[in-house]
């Protein structure tokens, strides 16, 4: 019998799909069974697809106002995320470094971090609205304030965990502050920074939807509120599936970037 290596790889790929496929199928089965219960308004998976077929087929339609395809809704949400998240990354990484390297600043800022971190993201929204008056800056601010904490904390942790010997080598070789930062501090902290960035991205995606639901302005969060007001549960479910999908996609991108840019491994 001639054993084909290609066949083996193919077999292994098939095998790796079996378990997830089983899991998802089970979920659909349970869903379908639950929807058959007489007292529930939960549509079955098939109903969802038939009810929202128009939305699934054409994500690009634009009939003006808030009547847009999913592509445009998701894009609007992503734009806010990119703004708030980038700002949080820039400020958060900077603060993370500064508090690790300067004791006075650390002791000054730490109580503020401890105090503000437990505040639920949405609790910031009314305050943001009062300050910015417009919905977009308010949403972006909510994303910013949600994303910044894991970035600060993971960056600071990364600096803290740099082995003492690295700084000893740096001192002995007489590296300047500049050289020490770019050649030792930054590369050593990068994996931790990416952990913080990855967590923050997930949180940003959660925050934007919540903010949009409250602001009822644009984006996928608004779509959810609108669907709820119209008792269109099928659309609600579709939105949830899209939310999960985009979130997963964002995380995968982050994981890929993290793998490519941290040269340790």
């Amino acid at each position: 019998m001639f054993i084909n290596a290609k066949n083996l790889i193919f077999q292994r790929q098939i095998k790796s799909i079996i378990a997830p496929t089983f899991g998802i199928t089970m979920l659909l089965v349970i869903w379908h069974l639950l929807s058959l219960h007489p007292d529930t308004s939960l549509p079955s998976p098939f109903h969802v697809i038939t009810n929202t077929w128009g939305l699934i087929i054409d994500p690009f339609f634009n009939k003006g106002g808030n009547n847009k395809g999913f592509f445009w809704l998701i894009l609007a949400s992503l734009e806010r995320v990119i703004f708030g998240y980038s700002l949080a990354a820039f400020v958060g990484i900077s603060i993370g470094f500064i508090i690790s390297l300067n004791r006075f600043i650390r002791e000054a800022i730490d109580p503020i971090i401890q105090l503000l971190r437990p505040v639920a993201p949405l609790a910031w929204l009314p305050l943001a609205q009062a300050i910015f008056l417009k919905p977009d800056p308010s949403a972006i601010f909510v994303i910013f304030i949600t994303a910044i904490w894991p970035i600060i904390l993971n960056t600071a942790l990364g600096v803290q965990l740099i082995p003492r010997d690295y700084s000893n080598v740096s001192k002995i070789l007489g590296l300047t502050v500049f050289e020490n930062f770019f050649k030792i501090l930054l590369p050593a902290t990068l994996p931790y920074i990416f952990t913080g960035l990855r967590i923050a991205l997930g949180l940003s995606w959660l925050a934007v939807v919540a903010a949009e639901m409250l602001l009822a302005y644009d984006g996928i969060g608004f779509f959810i509120i609108d669907a709820y007001n119209n008792s269109n549960i099928s659309e609600l479910i579709l939105a949830i599936i899209y939310l999960g999908g985009v979130g997963l996609f964002l995380d995968k991108i982050m994981a890929y970037l993290s793998f490519k840019l941290t040269p340790q491994e």
Partner: protein, 275 residues
């Protein structure tokens, strides 16, 4: 002839967070001649690494001073390069880049070609010519320590400091590296100071072995002259009576320190205020 390395009256006291003081080193006097290899031997926690750090400039003594080639040691410098027990190679850089980091900084006044040759030569000297593109995670412990050694030697320090450099390696790799280090130090007339636990390692590599007592206030107990001629072959010298005698003295010293430590711990139990 003035000594190359002069360690005079070193005392080191640590202040603990609860206000109490810990006197680690007291009255350390030692001279090292150029080209000499000196080992520091003693129990764990007796302060040998502290002394090494003070000579390196990574730590400041509470009293006393260190001079290297006539210059007072105030802060760390590339003239006193250290090889650490944990290699401390930067994991995101290749073997070549790790050595280059040091050479390009310390030898920046040399031409690019000279620096390139320096890196290549030292990596070849430690036998890593074929591993220059590998990252530390792809290297064995012995190879990593060789990179650390190449890095230290490439910048041509006045004093080579080694802090239990082979402690994390298995016995076979250790004996290989000991032989290599000995050869390199001899052919290049390197002045070195090494902290070690290994009595045989000390006797193989050193011209003199310094025995450091236990703390608090560790002082130098004795300095042993190890006068075997170079090159030293472990199988040859280890059979000699002279070797046995020296080894016996060192082991006795270490055992005595162990006993003193034990007795002191007993005294602390009976009379907590006595020590």
């Amino acid at each position: 002839m003035s000594s190359y390395v002069e360690i005079r009256g070193i005392e080191k006291e640590f202040k603990l967070s609860d206000g109490s003081k810990n006197l680690v080193l007291k009255n350390i006097d030692l001279n090292i001649r150029p080209g000499e290899f000196v080992s520091l031997i003693g129990h764990s926690g007796c302060g040998k690494s502290t002394l090494l750090n003070i000579v390196a400039g990574l730590d400041k003594p509470t009293q006393g001073y260190v001079q290297v080639d006539g210059q007072l040691v105030r802060k760390p410098g590339s003239d006193r390069m250290m090889v650490f027990q944990n290699y401390s190679l930067l994991p995101w850089l290749t073997t070549w880049e790790n050595v280059a980091l040091a050479v390009n900084k310390v030898m920046r006044h040399k031409s690019k070609k000279e620096r390139h040759q320096l890196i290549a030569h030292n990596l070849e000297m430690v036998g890593l010519k074929d591993a220059i593109r590998k990252k530390p995670t792809q290297l064995s412990g012995g190879m990593k320590q060789r990179v650390a050694l190449a890095r230290a030697l490439a910048i041509k320090p006045k004093l080579l400091l080694l802090d239990e450099p082979f402690g994390a390696l298995d016995a076979l790799t250790r004996s290989n590296l000991q032989a290599e280090l000995m050869y390199i130090c001899n052919t290049n007339n390197i002045t070195a100071m090494m902290v070690t636990h290994d009595v045989d390692e000390a006797l193989l590599l050193s011209n003199r072995v310094v025995m450091l007592k236990n703390g608090p206030g560790a002082t130098i107990d004795q300095v042993l002259e190890v006068s075997f001629p170079h090159p030293r072959y472990p199988t040859e010298i280890m059979d000699s009576t002279k070797y046995h005698g020296l080894r016996h003295e060192l082991m006795q010293f270490l055992h005595k320190q162990q006993q003193v430590k034990y007795i002191e711990s007993q005294i602390v139990k009976i009379l907590p205020d006595a020590v």
